[in-house]
């Protein structure tokens, strides 16, 4: 079918032109060049020199930091994403009960999230989790003394991850908006049928919020894989590289050693890993997400 456009429709093109130019210059061109640089040796002093697969071979066989950073990053994602989403959902469900003063609680729970991965909040985290910091001070009330939250390589990653978990606000708001849309008749009918609370949660609430769950999972995973500021400010990647993430490896190679080709190769590997993870979530989602319009209407 040939779609006929009226003359005035082309005006629309003018309105989106800024985006199109921006997309071509600031996204598409860099995307292509990034691929090209990843096969080259480029220090910005001389033009890029084609080196074939050398960067990738070096990455997987010689760079000792790469496997470490990759593993740490996956660890960071696996700790933060499920914890953050569970907290968000749990709190959203409680806030969805019709209680007084809910708005105040929502505000309080959301407040930490407005700072995102900023320097201010990372500095705060550093002071809270220092050996002589406030967290240990609090624990000493219960007789637990001197945990080296940021200095012990076995737990540093966990302490750093908690910062991201603390900021579950926007996932929570999304869940809450969805929960409010679930028709109460569903629960009433279930009550009449004598369903237990657990049953109602697994058979009504979870399927109804599954599209939001899916969205949160994808966005949080993508963001967590690219995390930089928090760990960079809190621990600087230490102790003994136990919180050193892929994003820091890319940063160090690009802006400390000016190995742009290698950094581009690293960023492509990061990109592909994120794609694999999101593809996995997309694939699996067909089994656990429920869309209302699947039934009847189509």
């Amino acid at each position: 079918m040939v779609v006929r456009y009226r003359k005035k429709d082309f005006v629309g093109f003018l309105y989106i032109l800024p985006w199109l130019i921006g997309f071509l210059i600031f996204r598409l061109y860099p995307f292509i060049m990034s691929f090209y640089y990843s096969f080259s040796d480029y220090t910005m002093l001389k033009p890029p020199r084609y080196v074939g697969l050398y960067n990738f071979i070096y990455m997987f066989t010689k760079d000792e930091l790469f496997p470490k950073a990759l593993l740490n990053t996956i660890k960071y994602v696996i700790i933060t994403v499920p914890l953050k989403i569970s907290f968000a959902l749990f709190v959203a469900i409680i806030l969805n009960m019709k209680l007084r003063g809910i708005n105040l609680f929502r505000t309080v729970y959301y407040l930490p999230s407005i700072f995102g991965g900023s320097v201010v909040i990372s500095i705060l985290w550093r002071f809270l989790f220092m050996k002589e910091g406030i967290v240990n001070k609090f624990l000493s009330l219960f007789g637990i003394e001197g945990i080296n939250w940021l200095g012990d390589p076995r737990i540093a990653m966990f302490s750093v991850s908690l910062l991201a978990v603390w900021q579950f606000g926007s996932s929570m708001v999304l869940f809450l908006a969805r929960l409010k849309e679930i028709p109460s008749e569903l629960y009433e009918a279930a009550l009449v049928d004598g369903a237990s609370r657990l049953k109602m949660f697994t058979k009504i609430t979870l399927p109804m919020i599954s599209p939001i769950m899916f969205f949160n999972l994808v966005m949080q995973t993508i963001n967590a894989f690219q995390e930089f500021t928090g760990p960079y400010i809190i621990t600087g990647g230490g102790p003994v590289n136990s919180t050193y993430l892929l994003s820091m490896l890319i940063y160090d190679n690009a802006f400390k050693y000016f190995r742009m080709g290698y950094a581009a190769a690293l960023s492509w590997v990061q990109f592909v890993i994120i794609l694999i993870f999101t593809a996995f979530i997309f694939r699996s989602s067909t089994y656990w997400t429920y869309y209302e319009y699947d039934e009847g209407r189509f």
């Binding site: 456009y5 005035k8 429709d9 629309g12 093109f13 309105y15 989106i16 800024p18 985006w19 199109l20 921006g22 210059i25 600031f26 996204r27 860099p30 990034s34 910005m44 409680i94 009960m97 609680f105 309080v108 729970y109 407040l111 930490p112 407005i114 700072f115 995102g116 320097v119 201010v120 500095i123 705060l124 550093r126 002071f127 809270l128 220092m130 910091g133 406030i134 001070k137 603390w166 606000g169 926007s170 996932s171 708001v173 999304l174 908006a177 994808v218 690219q226 930089f228 500021t229 400010i233 994003s247 890319i250 802006f255 742009m260 950094a263 960023s267 492509w268 990061q270 990109f271 994120i274």
Partner: protein, 285 residues
């Protein structure tokens, strides 16, 4: 008897729920309150008690902290951050609205493809573009200036905002616009006189999010700005924490509080736009 039992049970569960909400709320908010109180505490007191009320209120932490590392004061970093943030916010609002108007109200060739690119860039990780973008900006001669932040914002560089605005505009009634066409208004007049005023709340949402992101941005300034003279607050704070004077904890806390203040004020002043903004676009955070 049965109903009485049940009532008692309900009261208990209600009390438990509130107890949880309050305890959890304290746990959530305590760190933020703690920074504020620490800014007013003396250095020997900061880590000795959990109390939020300083034994002796100190204010010279703000005065000394403001002086920064000597050469440049925090006033300078503050002004620099404003010089970046204000144009970025304004340009983002304007460019996102224009582009969203194009997508929401016109039917031009390749529109579907372009819009699916917007949605795709919403999902695709951006860090893969980092290196070439840096090289490109370097080639443009934008290093150590605020151009890497301001110029892309003129080109609706944030797909989140385009998406959010398109969603919003699609929800608006078209009758007034159709009436305006009959009255002989052109599309730009319609946008300025009718559509844009109706989109005010979405524009405010965009402005707030962009403000907070730009204000708190660390990675951008870290790679694009070299001279201390042009540092933003985020860079200034990092410098203070890393410098030898880091024993002056209350000064760092004081400057952290100052850096947080604009975001907190905006959050409380415009809370409803936050919730609307997140709910319509699922913005990250």
């Amino acid at each position: 008897m049965y109903s009485q039992n049940r009532k008692a049970k309900n009261t208990i569960s209600l009390l438990l729920t509130y107890a949880f909400l309050i305890l959890f709320g304290i746990f959530m908010i305590y760190p933020l309150l703690w920074v504020v109180s620490a800014a007013f505490k003396s250095n020997d007191e900061i880590f000795t008690s959990l109390s939020l009320i300083p034994r002796k209120i100190v204010t010279d932490s703000f005065i000394k902290g403001w002086q920064g590392t000597g050469q440049y004061t925090f006033g300078r970093f503050f002004v620099n951050t404003i010089i970046i943030t204000v144009p970025v916010v304004l340009f983002t609002i304007i460019s996102s609205t224009l582009v969203a108007y194009g997508f929401a109200r016109f039917n031009f060739p390749l529109k579907k493809l372009f819009f699916s690119i917007v949605v795709a860039t919403l999902m695709l990780p951006d860090s893969v573009n980092l290196i070439p973008r840096y090289i490109l900006f370097n080639f443009f001669g934008w290093m150590d200036s605020y151009k890497p932040f301001i110029i892309p914002s003129m080109f609706a560089s944030s797909p989140f905002f385009i998406f959010m605005m398109v969603q919003f505009m699609r929800g608006l009634p078209k009758e007034m616009e159709e009436a305006a066409i009959i009255d002989g208004c052109n599309s730009l007049q319609i946008l300025i006189r009718i559509t844009a005023p109706l989109c005010k709340s979405a524009m405010i949402s965009i402005g707030i999010f962009q403000f907070i992101w730009t204000w708190n941005d660390f990675f951008g300034p870290l790679i694009f700005i070299n001279s201390v003279e042009k540092y933003t607050i985020a860079l200034g704070l990092r410098m203070c924490v890393d410098s030898a004077a880091a024993i002056a904890w209350n000064q760092i806390m004081a400057m952290t509080v100052i850096a947080m203040l604009p975001c907190i004020i905006i959050f409380f002043a415009a809370q409803k736009y936050f919730v609307e903004g997140i709910a319509t676009s699922g913005i990250k955070g």
